[in-house]
Symmetry: C2
């Protein structure tokens, strides 16, 4: 229970939901490795989450699956990074840090979504699991947007998060190959962005 | 056209969409008056936009209108603050700064959404207008969540954005009265939060 709710005459359900909302505010303080477009600072996961929703709305026409449930895509994108509140953000190209990531995030999902009433906990965990398992066309497209977004930012901001980690072209091709399943047009865009990055020596 | 797209062999349409995506990244640098939950810093509009989407998903059961199009609510919340990229964030309780706000934001909407292909420009401007005019149940609920969110944060973070501006109880009741149209439960919560704020002398 959050301290605030002691002063309120509200249902247990609303109290749990308020606690969840105030706890998830911490996503604003999870700092990702990559930088915002003008390279002035690293971005946080809350603003990244908003951006992938906006890009989904802008790019939905490029999804391979034309009868996608767009609301479910957006729900997944809204909640899937909340596990980072306890597990932290793990840089996509840090192969060592990615060992054990799923187990850590599963514990974190239980903890953050467990604040909610049981039915909402179940709904949000199910969205998170769908995103992680890429088990539906919606999840594949959500992953497509989640992957191409930081790649696009790195393509214009000098790619500092790549150069400081020495990211290689084959790593990028390997770790972003979900894009090929999600969208022909965005896969073509991604391959062109790889060439631009090679020409600028942002990827080695 | 964004400089990046000169290096790419893509359609004009995709080029416009990429330009829009990179331009809207600037929302991460629009700083709002109110603070995040732990009071450590002011929040930016991009992370606020994510938070109101998450709260909408959590609180949708409290909407007066039970047959709401939730996807449209979320679309409005995703795009409605983009006008702040050129017009800036205007503090809700700064009555002088609110004079001319709608006209400034209309110009800003033309500029930011005008980067997109014509059909998407029209769609996004229409969402923004619907939100501003509160002309549908979806817009009323979107406004409800957009208003109660910073109020909730101020209720737990010491209310610095209120105290530094000397916000009065009647201003809060007046500027947030849309909540009563959007939700009985959230209006009741809001009235209780007002009492908490009065007892803590956060509102005068």
């Amino acid at each position: 229970m959050h301290a605030l709710t002691k002063d309120l005459n509200i249902t247990d359900r609303l109290s749990q939901q308020l606690h969840f909302i105030l706890e998830t505010d911490k996503l604003k303080q999870v700092i990702r490795r990559n930088f915002i477009a003008d390279a002035s600072r690293r971005e946080n996961t809350a603003e990244h989450s908003w951006q992938i929703i906006l890009i989904t709305l802008t790019f939905s026409e490029y999804a391979k699956e034309k009868n996608m449930d767009l609301l479910r895509v957006i729900k997944m994108l809204t909640v899937h990074d909340l596990v980072e509140i306890y597990a932290g953000d793990v840089f996509l190209f840090d192969e060592q840090a990615n060992v054990g990531k799923y187990d850590n995030e599963t514990l974190s999902a239980e903890r953050i979504f467990g604040i909610l009433p049981a039915d909402q906990k179940e709904e949000f965990i199910s969205l998170w699991t769908e995103f992680e398992h890429r088990s539906t066309q919606e999840a594949i497209f959500a992953n497509t947007i989640d992957r191409i977004t930081p790649f696009l930012l790195n393509s214009v901001n000098g790619g500092q998060s790549w150069t400081e980690a020495g990211v290689r072209v084959e790593q990028a091709l390997n770790r972003l190959n979900i894009i090929e399943q999600g969208s022909d047009d965005l896969w073509d865009l991604f391959l062109q962005l790889i060439e631009v990055a090679k020409n600028k020596s942002l990827l080695v």
